[in-house]
């Protein structure tokens, strides 16, 4: 190597300095360090002490690891700062499109009477509970004032198929306006599929509409959770899924499950049902603590700890299923893993900072009222209109989206400044739900140690980090979920 310089000639010799990070004693022997851009690193307690006291040897791999992940810097180089800036900008890029998810409540009516449902009404009173053509049209006026180039419209209810003319109107009008405005637009209809017919299928096919449905597990569990006249919800949902796939294609329908007290001992059965129906993802969702769900919580509800036990058991089973060769992603873990191991935001509005309510998503209720989130309009159904942003008939875009309610939500949900969150190592992976805080604790900022939101997310994030670190089989599975596009 005569004309070449040795490695030592390139080493820094002026010591190093720390870059900002948060940390946590993650187990007996190790700290977990996380910086503002979500880079994380496990460090033995003794190494941690060496590191923070400036004694870490440049010849150790740990030194290089911490340098590469931007926990320390050691020369006049600008690169660490430029990279941190780029990563931070990427992580927060969800802000640039503003509220691009527009939820339309086409009707509040539903033929199901699910125990956990927050808002639906079994009623034939169309004039009272259906969204009018005029309200839909006014709402679309607002949709097309959104600065994002890619818009998403989700039509839900109640059971939106009970007001199919409104779906037809929203989709065709939005398509036409999107063409004129040069915007991309995608549509999701959230439906129980019980009353889907060929005309609807043809329309969804023609307009590339994506279907999101509910499947709570095998027939007995699903039907117990989701009563309807005839007790045939499961059979109708399964038949609907089959018809949607035949007509629109396999990838055009996804399903969500809601966990009730009955589900807690049935995790495997639920997963097996999803596998039997050929799904490639499952979302293990806890009950929302609102609406009717709150009232029936003795029979339907459970504690956070009970949910977590169910979640981890079921997740373990899902990981085993994947490891033996069948792909099935658990959506919540997938969202968190992407937050933990990539620089990209996930688009999941319920776990971001500031919160997505009003700036990532907005709800146009059947009566023309505009709400910051699904939970906000559920709260309104219970008589609390705190998160009503305005009405499509009387208010302008700027008044709705720049008004005092949205401002309060944003101000109260920057977790970088929330007591308890601001010091938490998991902060870059997490988010805030001010509407939840308000509903459960009477305050938008909330008290984290007593918050179910905090307990749930802290436990799941910690579990995923440790499992990814310690379990090679799980790590491979998790990577397949992270990389799945």
């Amino acid at each position: 190597m005569s004309s070449f310089q040795l490695r030592d000639a390139f080493l820094p010799h002026d010591g190093y300095r720390l870059l900002p990070f948060r940390f946590l004693q993650i187990d007996g022997g190790r700290k977990l360090l996380v910086n503002d851009t979500g880079e994380s690193h496990f460090l033995a307690n003794a190494d941690f002490a060496d590191f923070v006291e400036g004694r870490l040897d440049v010849y150790r791999d740990t030194y290089l690891d911490l340098k590469a992940k931007h926990f320390l810097f050691d020369s006049g180089s600008l690169a660490p700062f430029e990279l941190l800036v780029a990563k931070y900008r990427t992580m927060k890029s969800f802000l640039s499109g503003f509220a691009r998810l527009h939820i339309f409540v086409a009707t509040l009516r539903c033929e199901h009477s699910c125990h956990y449902c927050q808002v639906s009404r079994v009623s034939s009173d169309r004039s009272r509970y259906d969204m009018s053509a005029e309200s839909a049209s006014r709402a679309l006026d607002l949709v097309f004032q959104c600065p994002a180039t890619g818009l998403k419209i989700e039509i839900q209810g109640g059971e939106p198929l009970l007001n199919f003319p409104r779906i037809r109107q929203i989709v065709t009008e939005a398509e036409e306006r999107a063409r004129g405005a040069g915007k991309d637009i995608e549509f999701v209809v959230t439906t129980n599929l019980a009353c889907i017919d060929d005309e609807m299928l043809a329309f969804f096919e023609e307009h590339g509409v994506f279907i999101s449905t509910s499947l709570d597990g095998p027939a007995d569990l699903h039907n117990a959770n989701r009563p309807r006249p005839g007790g045939d919800s499961h059979a109708r949902t399964i038949d609907g899924i089959r018809r949607v796939r035949e007509r629109l294609g396999n990838d055009r329908v996804a399903a969500l499950m809601t966990t009730t007290r009955r589900s807690l001992s049935r995790g495997r059965d639920v997963v097996d049902e999803y596998l039997a129906r050929g799904f490639s993802s499952i979302f293990l969702r806890p009950l929302s603590p609102f609406g009717f769900a709150a009232k029936t919580s003795q029979t339907t509800g459970y504690t956070v700890d009970e949910f977590l036990e169910f979640y981890f058991e079921t997740l373990d089973y899902i990981v085993k299923v994947n490891a033996s060769g069948t792909y099935l992603a658990e959506t919540y873990a997938q969202i968190l893993l992407r937050r933990i191991f990539t620089s990209f935001p996930t688009g999941y509005v319920d776990l971001q900072s500031p919160a997505g309510a009003g700036i990532g998503a907005v709800v146009f209720n059947y009566d023309g009222d505009v709400y910051a989130s699904d939970e906000s309009r559920m709260l309104a159904e219970m008589g609390d209109h705190s998160f009503r942003l305005g009405n499509v008939h009387t208010d302008r875009y700027g008044d709705i989206f720049g008004g005092p309610v949205v401002r309060r939500i944003v101000e109260s949900s920057v977790i970088e400044s929330i007591p308890g969150c601001c010091d938490c190592a998991f902060q870059p992976f997490c988010g805030s739900d001010p509407v939840f805080n308000y509903a459960t604790q009477g305050d938008l900022v909330g008290h984290q140690p007593g918050s179910e939101f905090h307990r749930k997310n802290f436990a799941i994030i910690k579990h995923l980090l440790l499992q990814y670190d310690e379990d090679a089989a799980a790590r491979r599975v998790f990577r397949s979920w992270i990389g799945d596009r």
Partner: protein, 375 residues
């Protein structure tokens, strides 16, 4: 296959670059070099004439190189240069997907494993030749490479070179191999972006997640800093960047960590290429520091691809024989060795996956991975 040959010159004053014709053409012959397998009868108007005929040729109308052997592969439309010394260089072959322009032999790095060691000489005058080659290349060409040395050392004239490709070869994908260091200067990245080439990718090497490791490998202090910020600047201006990693003892050591660093910091990369060491140039001088049999790093390579794939990054593995890779990596392995320097070993006879395998560099008979033919 050799891309150059030597014959004996007659009637030359300067280098001539032209399109090969193997049969006489009528009309304007001033862009053509006649490749005549027998004594040429009509040389008038050609830029030059080359022929394997073993004695001087009667031809006063054009410069001639006679006694040229080994260029039988030339067909009409190929582009060659003929020097006054009798040296003939093949610059472009219509039938190849591996055409490239060696922009300059100068470089601002001095990589331990450089396969094309840089030379300290002012060769910037070759740019005119490059423009001429681009003018003569078939516009239907799908891919063209620009390599070096470090092509961006031309500065503004590098931008002109790209602009010229855009103008003359608008349907040709352009792949520039550069260390990216000069894009540290944001304005340079911006101006490249303004050229608006419709199908341009810059292949930029990144050898470590840590600056001093990378700087050691490329033997240039501050190179990591410039390359990394250069890549950010290019992304900012929407220029596609491919990250290229040459695998050897110095890069394998932190390879999986480099993958994680790329996933985090450069998720915008168009493609990540993981490349086996080409046994040329400096490699032989630094063989003790560099050489590592592919079998020794096969598991690291699997882990690396897994990390990059999870980040949604498209990955390819170049210059590796299938039997040196874990089976999970076979879908990522490309037959990448340029057609003109690609061989197989005797041991490869009877291997069941030989046809899908990239094989070896022609010069690898001296230094190559241990192989275990798949039967």
């Amino acid at each position: 296959m050799r891309l150059h040959a030597r014959g004996l010159p007659q009637g030359f004053a300067e280098t001539r670059i032209g399109q090969v014709v193997t049969t006489p053409v009528s009309g304007d012959r001033s862009d053509f070099i006649l490749y005549s397998r027998s004594e040429p009868s009509d040389c008038r108007g050609y830029l030059a004439v080359i022929t394997p005929v073993p004695q001087p040729v009667v031809c006063a109308a054009a410069p001639v190189v006679w006694g040229v052997h080994g260029l039988d592969y030339l067909v009409d439309g190929d582009v060659i240069a003929v020097d006054p010394t009798g040296f003939v260089r093949t610059l472009y072959r219509r039938s190849s997907r591996h055409n490239f322009i060696l922009a300059t032999e100068q470089c601002n790095s001095y990589c331990l494993m450089c396969s094309q060691p840089p030379r300290q000489m002012d060769d910037f005058s070759r740019l005119a030749d490059h423009f001429r080659v681009i003018d003569l290349i078939d516009p239907a060409t799908e891919d063209l490479g620009i390599t070096g040395g470090e092509p961006t050392l031309y500065g503004d004239r590098f931008l002109e070179l790209i602009a010229h490709c855009k103008q003359r070869l608008p349907n040709t994908a352009l792949h520039v191999l550069t260390n990216g260091r000069l894009f540290f200067y944001r304005r340079f990245a911006e101006r490249l972006s303004q050229v608006a080439h419709p199908d341009l990718i810059l292949g930029i090497p990144l050898y470590s997640d840590v600056d001093f490791e990378h700087d050691f490998i490329v033997q240039a202090r501050g190179a990591f800093e410039q390359t990394v910020i250069g890549m950010l600047n290019l992304d900012l201006h929407d220029v596609s960047v491919e990250i290229r990693i040459v695998l050897h003892r110095q890069t394998v050591r932190r390879l999986t960590k480099l993958a994680a660093m790329i996933a985090r910091n450069f998720p915008f990369a168009f493609h990540v290429a993981l490349m086996g060491l080409e046994p040329f140039g400096f490699v032989h001088r630094n063989v003790d520091v560099l050489w590592m049999d592919a079998a020794e790093y096969r598991d690291e390579l699997s882990e690396t691809v897994s990390i990059l794939s999870a980040a949604g990054l498209p990955v390819s593995i170049y210059n590796h024989q299938l039997c040196t890779l874990n089976v999970d990596l076979w879908p990522f392995a490309r037959k990448s060795i340029s057609d003109w320097k690609n061989v197989y070993l005797d041991e490869c006879e009877g291997c069941t996956v030989r046809d899908d395998c990239g094989g070896f560099f022609q010069s690898a008979t001296r230094l190559h991975n241990k192989i275990a033919p798949i039967t």
